[in-house]
């Protein structure tokens, strides 16, 4: 089971969601599926149709930059992080 670390700003959108969660999944895409099954709608916050990661959402697997196809080892750690960029309109 992989460990996913989620940002506060994402967890805040889903009542009961946790910052650090164990999920099954052999790729980033499958991990996000598992998150969405647990907290419906979370995929829409991380991905756009395609699917692809949102422009200002970064994902790392065991600290290396990843995309949806990146494999996730059984004991891997997946970080989902909002980019530092992207806040231009947030001021």
């Amino acid at each position: 089971m992989a460990t996913v670390v989620l940002p506060r700003s994402l967890v805040a959108l889903f009542p009961g969601a946790e910052r650090r969660v164990g999920v099954e999944g052999s790729t980033v895409d499958e991990v996000i599926d598992a998150l969405d099954a647990r907290w419906p709608g979370m995929r829409d916050r991380i991905c756009v149709p395609g699917p692809a990661l949102r422009e200002y959402i970064n994902v790392f697997v065991d600290t290396r930059p990843a995309d949806l196809q990146t494999p996730v080892p059984p004991l891997g750690v997946v970080h989902v992080l909002p980019a530092v960029a992207g806040g231009a309109t947030a001021g």
Partner: protein, 359 residues
């Protein structure tokens, strides 16, 4: 029945709610920031259900519609179905929400229209609008290519108008299957052809009460009225200090009365003229206008009022509410004659609506 007024405010950094008595006198209690501090372009109430909705977009997490079943105490959000699929850019933001005839409509960026029949939980694209033949020529305004106005016919669920910047007014009379551009008489100062079929930078439209073929429009290039459902427009600029402004609001009962807030021009800072704030009211269908200033800042007011940031309630006399780009909210409880500042130091205000609820 005792009542209270909720002023629903969308800002650059979340939604806020000002809550006051039906006398609309101080004090007003402020709640917020709501919706996790997302940029919120519009907050409204569905009078049929009492539910509140907020539309916006977060630069990291995309567009969504927020919903509250307890007058803003708690919120959930959804964007299920709120996308164009694989063949178009992801939605950046929700710009406007209109509850009507048991449904909820959302205008979005990039410009398009979505419909929810389950209170905003899931959404379906109203595809006919983006199938209009003018679609390849749609160009964004300064705020982007946005569908920012949705007006439902009060009686006929098949009829609706939308406003898209910088494309113009469109109308459907068959529930959204097909749309007709309705911009005749609306000027486009920034194009060689001043009166094209589309390309108008409509900023806001409002439906006159009791006359469902009368619309008022504040445009980038003038102020207008239509008496034929938008098929033709007459210019109402005479008597106003500027042809440029954003909001347009109609009287809740009198079809001859409407309000706008002219700014000093699109290339002059977009402030209220002479840094003196005024809401302008017509009581004769736009033949003449009067500035309402009592209680509004009359010096060093380097502020603007955005397209969604003015509203009326439906009390008698009705109240008028205006939010500014510099974070103030002003309210009048006597139809615009006198004003009081009811909030200050908010983030830039994107939208204001008023809801009258049970105390």
């Amino acid at each position: 029945m005792d009542r209270r007024v909720l002023v629903l405010i969308g800002t650059k950094k979340g939604a806020f709610i000002l809550e006051g008595g039906a006398d609309r006198d101080a004090p007003w209690r402020l709640r917020g920031p709501l919706c996790e501090g997302w940029p919120i372009n519009h907050v409204c109430q569905d009078a049929a259900t009492g539910r509140l909705y907020a539309g916006g977009g977060n630069p990291w997490f995309g567009a969504a519609v927020w919903r509250s079943d307890d007058l803003g105490e708690t919120w959930t959000h959804s964007s299920e179905g709120l996308n164009y699929g694989l063949d178009a850019s992801p939605l950046r933001s929700v710009w406007h929400l209109t509850p009507a005839h048991g449904a909820l409509y959302a205008g979005v960026e990039p410009a398009g229209l979505f419909r929810s029949s389950d209170g905003g939980l899931t959404w379906a694209h109203v595809e006919g609008l983006r199938e209009h033949p003018s679609r390849p020529d749609w160009k964004p305004g300064n705020g982007g290519l946005i569908c920012h106005t949705i007006i439902a016919h009060p009686d006929d669920p098949e009829r609706m108008w939308v406003g898209i910047s910088a494309v113009g007014c469109f109308a459907t009379e068959n529930g959204g299957r097909t749309w007709e551009a309705r911009n005749r008489g609306v000027r486009v100062d920034f194009m060689p052809d001043k009166y094209p079929e589309t390309g108008q930078c409509v900023h806001k439209m409002a439906l006159a009460s009791g006359m469902p073929d009368r619309l008022y429009q504040q445009n980038h290039c003038g102020t207008y009225r239509s008496d034929d459902g938008g098929r033709s427009w007459i210019c109402l600029d005479d008597g106003l200090p500027s042809t440029f402004g954003f909001p347009m609001v109609a009287h809740p009962r009198d079809p001859d009365t409407a309000f706008t807030v002219p700014l000093n021009g699109d290339d002059r800072g977009r402030f209220v003229p002479d840094a003196r704030m005024a809401v302008w009211r017509t009581s004769d269908g736009g033949a003449s206008w009067r500035a309402l200033r009592d209680g509004l800042p009359q010096e060093q007011a380097y502020l603007g009022v955005l397209r969604e940031a003015m509203a009326v309630d439906d009390l008698d006399p009705f109240g008028v509410y205006v939010g500014t780009s510099t974070g103030q909210v002003f309210a009048s409880r006597d139809e615009g004659e006198h004003w009081a500042r009811i909030a200050d130091l908010l983030p830039p205000v994107y939208s204001v609506e008023a809801a009258v609820v049970a105390a």
